[in-house]
């Protein structure tokens, strides 16, 4: 297995809902006019609390400075797992489940905080740039580490930071791994989600619709709907990363798109969300993703995982939601 360390230097920011209008110019440029910027990595996720922006340094220049924008102080690097073509099994679980044991758990064990972004095409594991030597040291045994420089991949060498690090992996005195308890409260909204994409060539034709979805969701129509169903959540994610578009939206929103524009997979899956966190999670706590993904991996349930500025979100197949909630509740109550 290969682990690619991508060359984007990323910033994670939060835009308050009431401050969104001062940012729309830059956001529209980043989302729809990619040829006008040198940005290669852009993601926007709307939650009931805020808009979370993940953007590279070139794209970050497009955003204004404002008291409505909070920026996480670290610079982040994106990691991407690429399984070699040699792997014959094609029934691999999707998303974080696949990498839960190989990447997420080891990083959690080494107290490295991760920020996840699943897209239609792949999963990005964001780590702080300053943690990179430790990340490489931690993962070098499992992965071929490759660094992407100027679009080409080169072997990345372990920086030899073994000295001074103690292995913080928690063992009990029998030598078994201690199960990770789930710390944060979980909730499961009622609406169902699609993870989808579209042909970049057709993006201009749905740009106004997407702008409406992104920036005008707080209108009276939407609030009326949410009052009907209190557990309905407003969640929408758009990303444009290296030319690939990924969209996460609820089923109702997909109805607004013309036929055949969205890539609906042949299996047409729908996903339900597990929302993690009662209080904003912050960026320093580690192990949150691992707490969720490890039980899913054990149960072989595919999942997407999207971290935002304040909370984390896991998407699991609708048919599995009850068993997932059950399994995770057990873990948190067992604590």
């Amino acid at each position: 297995m290969e682990l690619h360390i991508l060359e984007h230097s990323l910033k994670v920011a939060s835009i308050e809902k009431e401050g969104i209008q001062i940012c729309t110019h830059g956001l529209i440029k980043l989302a729809f006019l990619a040829s006008k910027t040198r940005c290669k990595f852009f993601s926007l996720t709307e939650t009931p609390e805020d808009y979370t922006i993940i953007v590279d340094e070139e794209g970050f220049k497009e955003l204004p400075q404002s008291e409505h924008i909070s920026v996480a102080d670290a610079t982040w690097l994106a990691l991407n797992v690429v399984s070699g073509g040699g792997n014959a099994s094609n029934s691999q679980p999707i998303g974080v489940t696949k990498i839960a044991k190989s990447v997420i758990a080891p990083l959690a064990d080494h107290n490295i905080s991760v920020f996840m972004l699943s897209t239609y095409q792949t999963d990005f594991i964001l780590v702080r740039e300053r943690d990179l030597p430790m990340v490489m040291h931690t993962l070098s045994s499992e992965f071929t580490l490759l660094r992407v420089v100027n679009g080409e991949t080169f072997a990345a060498h372990d920086l030899g930071v073994t000295n001074g690090f103690v292995n913080p992996h928690v063992f009990n005195h029998f030598g078994f791994s201690v199960p990770r308890p789930i710390i944060h409260p979980l909730s499961s909204p009622s609406n169902m989600f699609c993870v989808t994409s579209l042909d970049p060539d057709t993006l201009p034709s749905v740009a106004t619709l997407l702008m409406d979805v992104m920036f005008y969701s707080g209108g009276p129509k939407e609030s009326g709907a949410s009052s009907e169903d209190s557990s309905h959540i407003r969640f929408f994610s758009f990303s444009l990363i290296e030319g690939y578009i990924s969209l996460v939206m609820d089923e109702q929103t997909t109805q607004r798109f013309p036929n055949n524009v969205l890539f609906t997979s042949a299996s047409g899956e729908l996903w339900k969300m597990v929302r993690i966190g009662g209080q904003p999670l912050g960026f320093d706590e580690c192990g949150i993703v691992a707490q969720i993904s490890e039980p899913l991996a054990t149960a072989d349930i595919p999942a997407y995982y999207i971290s935002t500025f304040k909370f984390d979100h896991a998407l699991v197949p609708e048919e599995n939601i009850q068993s997932v909630i059950g399994a995770l509740r057990t873990k948190s109550t067992a604590q």
């Binding site: 073509g85 696949k98 792949t122 034709s205 055949n260 890539f263 042949a266």
Partner: protein, 884 residues
């Protein structure tokens, strides 16, 4: 909602006149000659000769991303269309409903997860296999190889795979969801092509690498990390050569050495959109960039085999502009040579275009000319067989070659004879060699007679400096009015005399040495050459009207003489200096009807006012020397230099060699010769002429050196090596600075001294022996030992005798009686005995032995030496084409 779809073109693999344009829909066209009976209204002109007819349109498949034409004859016109959602649909154009592809048309191949289909490639051998390259989707595969003959997925398998097909799909049972092969997991595929060297190998441009998948073992792949992953395409003429691109740069790969590109082409400022090898021409790659109206061509025909990094291959790059508008796409015609159809980026404007092949052209050192264009090679040789007088003048190379063979330029005594050696039919050469003859004659006399003429300035070179310079300085010009010869009638014609003018007349050949002898010698030589009119004119200008009449009479009565000359003589005899006479009036008007320029200028002279001789001076048919001589006699000191300057400039401009008389062998002369060489290319005459000049001045001129070097190169190219050696000897005599110093010496292995020079310091060894009456030639016995240390010289590798040649003996040390019978053959050592050795293996021997050895062998005669000595000598196998 298809927005911004880029058009593309595909030629039918089997119908040479059918092609498909795909943009938002598919359009099938037939191309044909314009104005043929088939063309009706509605045809689109593609070029001056061709037009296209739209045969069919297919708009059943929206969201087209790529199209590939089924490669086999049957079913014809079956197309695979890759869509934005990753589905591949088989469709057709312009086929009747009962055609063979009916069961295939409409068949769909659906990937597990929807994402764009970037590329499609039919297997060229197993045409049931269709490879599709898709964008990345998580852990899914990006290269799917579909079997178009596979059965549709049954309901059961659909259910088991949790496939939820849309209601439309379920209705039509023509959906295939199970690919034959799945490759490139967790990756994206941007471009694909099957390798020609093995149809089981698929080359794929993946996200950050080029990968070769082998269908026999799909768990293995060969790959190389690169950014150049778009548009992979195999050279149809060279199955190991592949092109791919990234943004504006094309990379050329050799599959045998796949680690890195064998070469990258110059980067274009805009991203490339298409790169295609020409199917009809070896090594020609066409590239197109975005927003461009040109197609850039790279000719790699002469690229050496790309194994090894030492040689940077040469590529010829050029651009063609098939149409005015920006090009959307292009496609090479599969069989028509260098032909392509181009479609504009907007409005589907099509152009039929043939790339004109570069013409490469080469002159041979003889007169033939060869050029290559496309697959044609043209050889152009000079017209006119030997002996047949061609109307067209022979090429200068032919002339120079013939002249070199007839030893043109080498007559150093009767210099004027060189024009005869040149063929004797070129008036300019005749004039030139006479000029040089008179110049050299005057020069010799001048030296011999101990500066009898007390001319100012550099006495050595004044004769070389030309009449223009000679008459510029006048020392005591005397004006005289002389009587007509044989008559006491006084003329009022002023005639001018000075030492300079006298010298000029001698250089013109009019006057022999000494003022007394006068013009008579010259007149007699003209009579001998039957130049009656010219002789008469010269006599007349010397105020000898009787002599002129006499000459004309002689000319009329001579064998094949012109009787009209008598009439002219009669007219001449009526000469009167009466200004208003009828004779004068008639002569000045009727003279223009005389065909011979000399007869014409005679009457011009007689009817002119004194000092106004334009009728004579500017009669261009009269030889320059005669006009100059005339001017020296009849123009005043004020008029003469002006006339000389004017005439000189005229000659220089025209490159007329007659002007050498005026310029001499001065810088002016080189200028004149330069324009002559520019006009004719005759470096041979230029070289020989300038070598006659006073050494130093003109020979140092770089132009002169250039002519000489070029002439030597020409002689070499003609394999006239003996002529070239002869020329070098001749040149060395006239220009000692041109003699190269000896650069190669044979040195003795023992004492290290040169065997040709060390002898001079030593008393000759042979002398002692001969004093004691030792039989045989003592010098002969000694040539095989070093004259310095008396140790033996190396042995010939073949005869094993010690080498040595008499030339290594210093001249003058031998016995005096030996010198007497030194014929040309003996003077120099026989070539057969010369030292010769290979510069590579350092083995050698007698030249004659070596030559005969290499007539039958390729390897060095020394056993265990495998050096192919003679093949290293590129000229070693040539024979001289001149005979010495």
């Amino acid at each position: 909602i298809m927005s911004g779809s880029k058009p593309d073109i595909l030629w039918s693999p089997h119908h040479p006149d059918h092609y498909v344009i795909c943009d938002s829909e598919l359009g099938l066209y037939r191309i044909g000659p314009v104005g043929s009976s088939e063309t009706k209204a509605g045809t689109l002109p593609l070029s001056e000769e061709t037009a296209a007819t739209l045969l069919a349109i297919n708009s059943d498949t929206p969201y087209m991303k790529c199209v590939a034409w089924y490669p086999k004859h049957e079913p014809e016109c079956l197309l695979a269309v890759g869509q934005a959602n990753g589905r591949v649909v088989l469709t057709s154009l312009g086929q009747s409903h009962n055609s063979t592809c009916k069961e295939l048309v409409g068949k769909e191949f659906v990937p597990k997860h929807a994402r764009q289909c970037n590329t499609l490639a039919w297997n060229p051998v197993d045409s049931n296999l269709l490879a599709a390259g898709l964008d990345k989707h998580r852990a899914d595969f990006s290269v799917l190889i579909w079997d178009i003959s596979s059965k549709f997925s049954s309901e059961a398998s659909v259910a088991s795979e949790k496939i939820r097909l849309s209601s439309v799909d379920l209705d039509s049972s023509s959906v295939v969801t199970k690919p034959l092969y799945e490759l490139g997991q967790n990756d994206a595929c941007l471009s694909l092509c099957w390798l020609l060297r093995d149809p089981k190998l698929l080359l794929a441009g993946m996200h950050r690498n080029l990968a070769i998948f082998d269908l026999r073992n799909t768990s293995q792949k060969t790959f190389v990390n690169t950014k150049a992953i778009q548009g992979v395409t195999v050279d149809p003429h060279f199955p190991d050569r592949v092109a791919s691109f990234f943004e504006g740069q094309v990379a050329i790969w050799d599959l045998r050495k796949f680690e890195k590109p064998v070469l990258t082409l110059t980067e274009q400022p805009k991203p490339l959109t298409k790169v295609a090898w020409c199917p009809t021409r070896n090594g020609l790659l066409a590239t197109l960039t975005r927003d461009s109206n040109i197609i850039r061509l790279y000719d790699m025909q002469h690229t050496p085999t790309p194994i090894g990094d030492e040689t940077e291959p040469t590529i010829i790059e050029r651009s063609v502009q098939p149409c005015e508008s920006q090009i959307g796409s292009f496609a090479w015609h599969p069989s028509s040579q260098n032909r392509m159809v181009v479609v504009s980026a907007a409005n589907r404007v099509m152009t039929d275009f043939t790339v004109f092949e570069r013409i490469s052209l080469a002159w041979s050192s003889t007169t033939s000319l060869m050029w290559a264009c496309g697959r044609h090679l043209y050889d152009c040789v000079e017209d006119g067989a030997e002996g047949v007088e061609s109307v067209i003048e022979k090429d200068i190379a032919t002339k120079m070659r013939q002249r070199a063979q007839s030893r043109y330029g080498h007559d150093t005594v009767q210099v004027w004879r060189n024009h005869l050696l040149a063929g004797g039919n070129d008036p300019q050469l005749k004039s030139l060699w006479y000029d040089l003859f008179y110049i050299l004659l005057s020069h010799m006399k001048q030296c011999a007679e101990d500066m009898e003429l007390k001319l100012q300035g550099n006495k050595q070179s004044v004769v070389y400096s030309g009449i223009k310079n000679i008459v510029k300085t006048s020392s005591g010009t005397k004006e005289s009015r002389r009587c007509w010869n044989g008559s006491d009638r006084q003329t009022d014609l002023p005639r001018y005399d000075s030492e300079e003018r006298c010298l000029a007349l001698r250089l013109c050949g009019w006057m022999s040495r000494g003022p007394d002898i006068g013009v008579e010698v010259f007149l007699r030589s003209l009579e001998q050459d039957r130049e009656w009119e010219r002789a008469a004119a010269v006599a007349l200008f010397n105020l000898d009207i009787r002599r002129a009449i006499q000459i004309l009479n002689k000319g009329a009565t001579a064998e094949k003489g012109d009787l009209n000359l008598n009439v002219v003589a009669m007219a001449l005899s009526g000469y009167t200096d009466e200004k208003s006479s009828l004779w004068r009036e008639m002569c000045s008007s009727l003279r223009l009807q005389l065909k011979n320029p000399y007869l014409c200028v005679m009457f011009a002279f007689l009817t002119s006012e004194p000092g106004a001789y334009d009728g004579v001076l500017y009669e261009s048919s009269v030889a320059v020397r005669d006009r100059v001589a005339f001017a020296c006699m009849f123009l005043s000191d004020a008029q003469l230099p002006r006339y000389m300057d004017k005439l000189t400039n005229e000659m220089k401009e025209a490159g007329n060699l007659e002007g050498i008389l005026l310029t001499g062998l001065s810088k002016d002369g080189v200028d004149l010769m330069e324009s002559h060489v520019d006009r004719t290319g005759d470096v041979q005459t230029a070289s020989f002429c300038m070598l006659k000049g006073s050494p130093g001045e003109v020979l140092k001129d770089p132009r002169v050196q250039c002519w000489i070097e070029n002439y030597r190169n020409l002689l070499d190219a003609w394999r006239f090596w003996h002529k070239r050696a002869e020329f070098d000897i001749y040149r060395g005599k006239l220009d000692p600075s041109s003699k190269p110093l000896a650069q190669v010496f044979v040195s003795c292995n023992f004492c290290g001294k040169s065997i040709s020079y060390s002898c001079s310091a030593m008393p000759h060894q042979g002398r002692g022996f001969s004093q004691y009456g030792v039989s045989g030639s003592p010098t002969k016995s000694k040539v095989t030992s070093c004259p310095g240390c008396r140790k033996p010289l190396p042995r010939c590798a073949l005869c094993l005798m010690n080498m040595g040649t008499p030339v290594s003996n210093c001249p003058g040390t031998g016995k005096s009686d030996e010198k007497v019978d030194l014929t040309r053959e003996n003077k120099l050592a026989q070539f057969n005995n010369w030292f010769t050795w290979c510069h590579n293996c350092r083995h050698g021997g007698h030249a004659g032995h070596m030559l005969s050895w290499f007539r039958d062998h390729t390897e060095c005669p020394v056993s265990a030496c495998t050096c192919k000595c003679m093949q290293l000598d590129t000229t070693g196998n040539l024979v001289p084409s001149d005979s010495s």
